[in-house]
């Protein structure tokens, strides 16, 4: 019972941390701080996965976000005129639209949480190694088509973006 309570406490703590860092993303003036705050918000979600005994998903989430947010940070620094927030840059734009979009998203998420048929809780949680194996079978089984098409789409987008971005200059290294 105490184990359960400790788990719930930590889950609540990291849930609150995820929300708090999410708020910090918009409260800060610095682009880099904003990106790192988003990273820590996502890391907190990864820790929540770990606490819910989904080891593989948690570790994967924690790993992927570090790279993604860092790459995002450098793009933000490159394209923004005030990346360090020295001029007290505002992080929110189109407030009315964002509020509506956020509100509708929240209502939608809550509706899904309450209305979906989640089924009974899993009686026995499979071990971490077994979970990874199950996930592998799922990805190479019925979910293969979805994942392969998503992967191909992302690859196409990456190639296209690179094609658009590079300067056609023959004989230039790098």
């Amino acid at each position: 019972m105490t184990g359960m309570t400790a788990q719930m406490t930590f889950l609540a703590f990291f849930g609150a941390a995820a929300v708090w860092f999410g708020i910090v993303v918009f409260r800060t003036h610095s682009m880099v701080r904003s990106a790192i705050a988003l990273l820590f918000s996502q890391t907190a979600v990864g820790v929540m996965f770990l606490l819910m005994q989904a080891e593989f998903l948690g570790v994967l989430q924690i790993m992927m976000m570090a790279t993604e947010m860092s790459v995002m940070a450098i793009f933000m620094v490159m394209f923004m005129m005030d990346p360090g927030g020295m001029g007290a840059m505002e992080m929110t734009h189109q407030k009315r639209l964002s509020l509506w979009a956020g509100g509708i998203g929240l209502v939608g998420a809550l509706a899904v949480i309450w209305l979906a048929d989640w089924g009974p809780p899993v009686p026995v949680i499979p071990g971490a190694a077994e979970q990874a194996a199950d996930l592998g079978r799922e990805l190479l089984g019925r979910s293969m088509f979805i994942f392969q098409s998503a992967g191909l789409t992302i690859l196409t987008a990456m190639v296209a973006a690179t094609m658009v971005a590079i300067v056609p200059n023959e004989g230039r290294e790098g």
Binding site: V32, E55, M63, T67, S70, I74, G84, G127, A128
Partner: protein
Amino acid sequence: MSSVIVLLSLVAGSYFIAVLESWLTHGRFSLTRPAISALALLGREAVTARTPDRLFFETAPVLLLVVGLLGAAVIPLAPGLIITDLATGALFLNAALAYVLVALIMAGWGPNGAYAMIGGWRFLGQFIAYAMLIVMPITAVAMRAESLSTTVIVASQEALWNAAYQPIGFVLFVVAAMGLAWLPPLDLPNAPGDLAGGIEAEYSGARLAVLRLARMVIILVMAGATVTFYLGGWLGPWLPPVVWSAIKVLAVTAAMLSAGRLVPRVREARYLAVSWKLGISLALTNIFLVGVIALVVPI
């Protein structure tokens, strides 16, 4: 108990690296030099730059050290001598090491100085180059072991070490590991003689001591990972397992530290180009070959 032993070996190993590095750099072998330098750093005034991003500046060295310790947590030194034997150990090591990048970006951005910032962003470029070459060779290692647990990976090399079983992956991993620990010739983020210390430029006193210690731990973790994934971990005849682990880790560390001194520093654009055009193709070939061998010959 095993946590204490692992941590003590980390301390001893870091000291060994410090001795070795100063020997290789300054040409003088001294067992006391790192201790004196560390004491001097701790006693020195810690200067901060004007208008730093204080949060990043203070967090970066500590985060780097924590990342190194987390990485060390899944490296087995002997059967049962591991801080935590996670079922996803190999992936966890990757996840921990991804935060080396975050810490270095913070260290680069935090002090509000040009050299530091260039160093930090350079490391991001370097990360793009080495990241896939850490993950893809590990994938092939996990394929052979049919597990992500580091202890199972070591046990899978009973008959033949992975360095012989998948030599392409071994070479790719060692080079990428040197990139991750920003060892010469891939020491772009601090680049002595070029960036005035880069990410270390604005750090002084105790903060610099923590930053340097963290880097020693990361070098040690990368050597430990190489031994675990490719050189049979604790496996070996006659001597006890722990001794084998120690010998192998220290040998890999020495090889990594000295090899870099013989080649000129690589530019980031060149490193990126070679890593992606040649490295990733080789890594994919390695995965394919390991897959075929694993299916055809059961070793």
